[in-house]
Amino acid sequence: MSVPGSLPIAFVGQRKPLAILVLQVGLLTLASLGFYRFWGRTRLRRWYLSAIRPGGHPLEYVGGGSEKLAGFLIAVCFLAFWLGVVNLILMFASLSVFAAPALAYVLSFAGLVPLWFFARYRARAYLLARTRWRGIRFYLAPGAGGYVIRVFWHGTITVLSLGVLWPRMTFKLEKYRTDRTYFGSARLNQGGSWQMLQPAFAHVLFGSGFALIALALALTSTPRMALLLPVFGIWAAVGVVHYRVSSLVLMANNKTADGLGFVLAASPWTVMRIVGFGSLAMVIALLVPLGGLGIAVTLAPSELLEGAVDPMAIGVHGWAILLLVVVLYFGLFLAWGVLRHALITLPLWRHYAQTLTVTGIDTLPRITRRDAEAAGEAGGLAEALDIGAAI
């Protein structure tokens, strides 16, 4: 795009170096029994952000692995109490009131939901505070508690409206986050209104609406209506992806920051193609080692699989098979990570980066840095709850 005063964004990341990095990080994480994951995530973030170059200058991730570990340790101190005592009391309550142990797991999971949104907000704050462009940091003002309250408030309204008001929730939550985001001294503002997202939501609404009607008819009067269920189901699923990308585009195009603006031209169809073909390629690529695993299991002596035999007695043949199974098992995990990054995550980032343009850059000299060195260990809860596994 050659609008004066606008910066197109280049994406310089290549699949091969990323695949090598992911493999290296995966091996080190396995070898360190998971401890390296803090440094591994740091390296991946550094790589991905450095691949994005608005106006030719890369984003720079300055977070560190040790601060992630520190955040994780702090979160462990608190979560250990929460998970231990609360789970135990929930188990006791669901046993003594309903005599149903499974209910305790459901309740315990539900108890983590607010914590999850809290952690998401803090993780975003941490990521932004550790990201620089042209030497200036981003910043997300504190507000994780308010965010959780809004998630529940807007979520309740969405549920009460049977999902029709979903775009309202999307917009309000994004506005809450955006309006608290800064690039140096420049504060972002989410313009527009939630109604602008409504047309993009139509496919989800009609697809799922018709699917529900077909289901109701199939269950009551006309069993043949069940045949239409997959059609409406696919319509709704495509609608969800379409809505996610379209709403992102609409909201990005209505974001401003002290004269800076954004033009995003991401295409829902491209995103669907990337995810669709990427997943297909991953499945095909993973079927090969899985086939090998299957052969190994058929060749393994049956006593080994029963587990009741002394492991010393299985012999060299048995040990070789066992080793092969272990290597394939971990190899599958590593391959999954490498393929996911190379075939899905990287193409998606590339698409979003290349279709985004920053406008109004004449105002850049007005922006100065913030002094706040905030959110040092704020990512810890997210690390402990394993959020943000994408990178």
Partner: protein
């Protein structure tokens, strides 16, 4: 990109000069700069133009790692608190490396001591939870848990055990229900007929094991019948497990596991997941009770056996045989038998036999044979 050639003449090096982009970290404004070496001051001179220069010492130069772009390198200045950065062509890397020895050194780990303290605090809080708080709370709650709740917990745990030990990994371990065998088992049960109601289940698995579950469920693996020589030995094991039921030990363990699962899942992060249910199952079946709980269950069993005209010495016989077989025993039994209190338990069982005690056979030979083939297909 321009090719650079370093020609060494005597001890003097060709002067280095390059161009790059500088960001001062205060305004997001790029400045085109010329850079050169000041060998005397051992620093990199960044010429901002109009006579403005900045010098970064060679030993403070750092390069950002893991960069996706290959055309350029990004330099920063140690100790990293200065937000300024400098982009240079990647071709300059070799000559920079010849001066800046710490170029590829990472960011120093901040506050190592604090990290160590946090690590200790995390380990301590997890340890406190697992070793003190959860057991304490579980013991209190086990005492006030209504009977229906215990039964439901026991049923759910039995399901876990049956699916965890199923060889196919898909179905449930079969329950042994040959009619004559069930009758023999029922006879043993009513002979022991204590004030504690129990429900006996035999599972078709070769492991030598028997354990109690919450709600009065006592589970025997077929493997026990394979090593037991007499019905008295089976009765002694049953009496011991009934002792655990009477003391509500399984409920305690199950509640403890419910509390521990979340904490352990947290520690192992993305590593475990489904393994936690297996862990719960393992805890229950390996019956890792305290020595005091084992001794109490034994004492209960001795009294119960004597009441039923059965000799507690049968328990000693069985344990001794298992000790003798330890070399060939499966690892889990080895672990069980390695318990230092084993010798004490054997001695206590022998000592519990009163002077001039007259025992009656636990089962007729026919019933004993029926019990041994309880898992046989009918």
């Amino acid at each position: 990109m321009t090719e650079r050639t370093i020609i060494t003449v005597g001890t003097r090096l060709a002067p280095f000069a390059s161009e790059g982009t500088y960001f001062d970290g205060i305004h997001p404004v790029e400045r085109d700069v010329a850079v050169r070496f000041d060998e005397a001051a051992a620093g990199l001179i960044i010429d901002l133009g109009e006579g403005d220069t900045i010098t970064w010492p060679f030993k403070a130069l750092r390069r950002l790692p893991d960069q996706a772009g290959s055309g350029d390198i990004i330099l920063a200045k140690a100790p990293w608190d200065d937000p300024a950065c400098l982009l240079l062509p990647a071709a300059d890397l070799r000559i920079l490396r010849s001066r800046a020895s710490g170029l590829d050194r990472g960011r120093p780990t901040q506050r190592r001591g604090r990290l160590a303290i946090l690590g200790l605090a995390a380990v301590a809080s997890v340890g406190l939870m697992l070793a003190v708080l959860i057991p304490l709370l579980a013991d209190r709650l086990a005492d006030i848990l209504p009977a229906e709740g215990e039964v439901a917990l026991g049923e759910a745990t039995l399901e876990h055990v049956r699916s965890a030990f199923d060889d196919t990994g898909l179905g449930l371990l079969p329950v042994c229900e040959a009619e004559a065998g069930r009758a023999a088992l029922g006879a043993l049960e009513s002979r022991l007929g204590a004030g504690t109601p129990v429900r006996l289940q035999v599972l078709d698995h070769p492991m030598v094991n028997a354990f109690a579950l919450p709600g009065g469920l006592v589970v025997i693996f077929r493997g026990l019948f394979d090593v037991a020589d007499t019905p008295e030995e089976v009765a002694a094991v049953l009496a011991h497990e009934i002792g655990h039921v009477a003391a509500r030990d399984p409920t305690r363990i199950a509640l403890r596991s419910a509390g521990s699962i979340g904490v352990l899942g947290l520690m192992f992060g993305d590593f475990a997941g489904g393994a936690m249910v297996l862990f719960l199952t393992e805890r229950i079946i390996s019956a890792d009770y305290t020595q005091a709980a084992e001794a109490a269950a034994d004492a209960y069993a001795h009294a119960l056996l004597i009441e039923a005209d059965l000799s507690p010495a049968a328990l000693a016989d069985l344990l001794e045989r298992l000790l003798g077989d330890v070399g060939q025993a499966p690892p889990i039994v080895q672990h069980f038998l390695a318990h230092p209190a084993m010798a004490d338990r054997i001695a206590a069982a022998r000592a519990a036999v009163p002077e001039g005690f007259q025992a009656r056979p636990a089962l007729s030979p026919e019933d004993w044979a029926a019990l041994l083939s309880i898992c046989a297909e009918e």
